[in-house]
Amino acid sequence: MNSGNSPRSARLKFSLRHLIILTTLIAVGIAVVMVHRKNRLLHQQREQLLSLSSRLIVDNEDELTLAAMPRVADDFLSWRVHVPENDDYELRLGAGDISEQGVPPIVDKVRILAGQHRVTLQSGDSPDEEFQYVVYVDGEQVISVKMGQDWIPGGWSSSHGMGWPRQSASSSSPLQLAARSYRAKPDFGKRNYFNGNSDNYVTRLGYRLWIDSADQTYQPPSPLMVPPFDPLHQGIGLRDGLRYTMSNRPPYHWTFTRPSLATNDPMLRIVAEFFDGEKSVLSDRTQSFASWQIRDAASGSATQRWENESTKQTLTAFLHASLGPKAEYQPVVELKWDASRPDEVGLRLANTPANDRITRWRLRILGGLEHLWREIEIGEHSVTLGELMSEAPVEPNENLISLNISDGTESEIAIRWQTNETLPLQIVQRTKQQYASMQLNRGLPSSFGMKLPRSITENVSAQTSDRHPNLSIPLPGGPVVQQLVIELERGSREWVWFEVGPHRSLGDHPL
């Protein structure tokens, strides 16, 4: 094997031992690759099978863990759960007001011992079954609660699952097994099917079943929605009331939704115009306008930390007109929500130097063609649009009817308006052929209102229309109030309140 002392022969010198080691190394390498490949396939196969199995995998003995068992019946849900030894735990059933943010009141609870258990929920969630919820642990019935036929008297049209509230952080994380929120079935008569659409932040009736530390308690959820909620999709304001929603089309409009009226469609659209004397300084025609920025302060450009304490009942936000750094006028409007006024949102010019040169503003309330506004009430004087048109002089070019707001001595002028249809407009559109090409609002029947401080209100007028841009014929059912136009002085920080609530007979309930 040894061939001499030349450098070349020294470089090529291999011992038998080297060859054996090298060959073994290559063999081990190939074996590792093959075994690793098989390992990956086995892991993949295991994951697939585990996803079908209800086997409980406990990675951390100190954490509550669950595995859902396959559903075998419509009204039963079962889980395998692991309960750690580090605390006293309770299995809790809560039923009542529920939302994505809220934990309903506990209606019954039972201590659950450490170890592995099987939990089953039987939900008889119909009026005939009296909304009875029965919970079993390891086959033993431990909870049985009947909410009664009248809990949701007409039953529900749809129900939705929901996750555990994000903001109810606690020292130990609860483990939710099931949660359901019911949309009560509205009764508009046979064949008048109503298809509601709203989000899970709205308070509805429902239940949650969860395992929690025995000493854990929960505050009622905040009535407010503040960032980090997404203002584009969820809005900010009141969860069950009006929410300001950022709108891109068109960006100048202030759009308010009210999902509790069973629609995510805009309910209130307001277009503002600001004046310095007679000069219009900002309107939807202003070329340099970019967007309305919603912030928590009247001045400054950065959004501060929004407070979202569950005890807080009011929320203030500021709309800043974004016009570029060199813009001469950058109006700021203050918005206010108050949980004690659940149907309303307040607006006023913010107390900030940016508004110093604004002397008056005009608000146009849009939406008459989507809501078919045909009834109006000023103070206690309720009239149909037809009567109004015959009583009041009409501006020839703009179909503008000036409303008589001079009667009365109250400090506020109360105006209410709504459609003359009693059924939801989505049903009207579906059942009356002539409305087919109109895009009517899809929510529950709604009533609109506003309270204007008499001291700053110069004029209110209604612009009527008997044509719809999509229709080649006159509007079915006659003309509507297409928009309301309000002329306001600058004033000294008085609030203008707008209201959108369930439909009610005008005259019965003073604003």
């Binding site: 074996a31 075994v35 295991r46 099978l49 079908l52 199995s53």
Partner: protein, 245 residues
Amino acid sequence: MKHALRLLLILALILGGSVLIRLTRENGRLGEEIAQLEAELGRMSIDDADRIYLVEIETPQVPPEVASHVDRVWQFRCYIPPGYDFMRMSGGGRVAENGIYHSGSSGSSSGSPNPEATHELLTISFQKKDNRSVLFDCFGGSAGTTSWHRFNQEQLDDSLVVQKLAASNQRPRSFDQDTILPLLKIYDPSTAEEKEVAGKKFTTYAGGLFVLFPKTRTSEFNQLHKGETPSDFDPSWVASEVSDE
């Protein structure tokens, strides 16, 4: 240098060997776990990733507190190939011994096709509710119920005929994506009635069926389930049952 190389080789050998031993042990453990899971969920090897595979689970997991409320449960492990676009139909009323003829009430549902292959559990169960026979089905997290009107059996006993597409005592079956899959058919043989549809006479029974079918076969399915025969009909479009129970 020579010693360093030798040391490196030996270290690599030791490292490789230990990785090999660890992976082999882990594979053994995984293999055992998979065997246990397959004993629970049915064995299935996918030879052709574009076909649908079905195997019946011998003993569905039904908690005792639920079992007392359910008359019968069938569970199938299904392999759904990527992009398989299908509908589910469940209906009770009158059915024929062969094929997918059905008259009576029915419900159907569909989802979006998944670009990835999936393994799903299909559960079908029977419940008596307010003197109605209610069929519950749950497939990949989506569940529904259908009332089988005119099928008011007091009990699902041996007097009924149950036809299934896969049986737990047989190997998994596979089907191409164009096949209509009558997964379960139940009827009472004592309720035979002659029926004539489109000039063709056949016997119908009180019962019902649960079918998966590709959306591409919707029109053929609609004809077949009315008792009509589509043009160019090939019997292989409808999968045949594996056995009677």
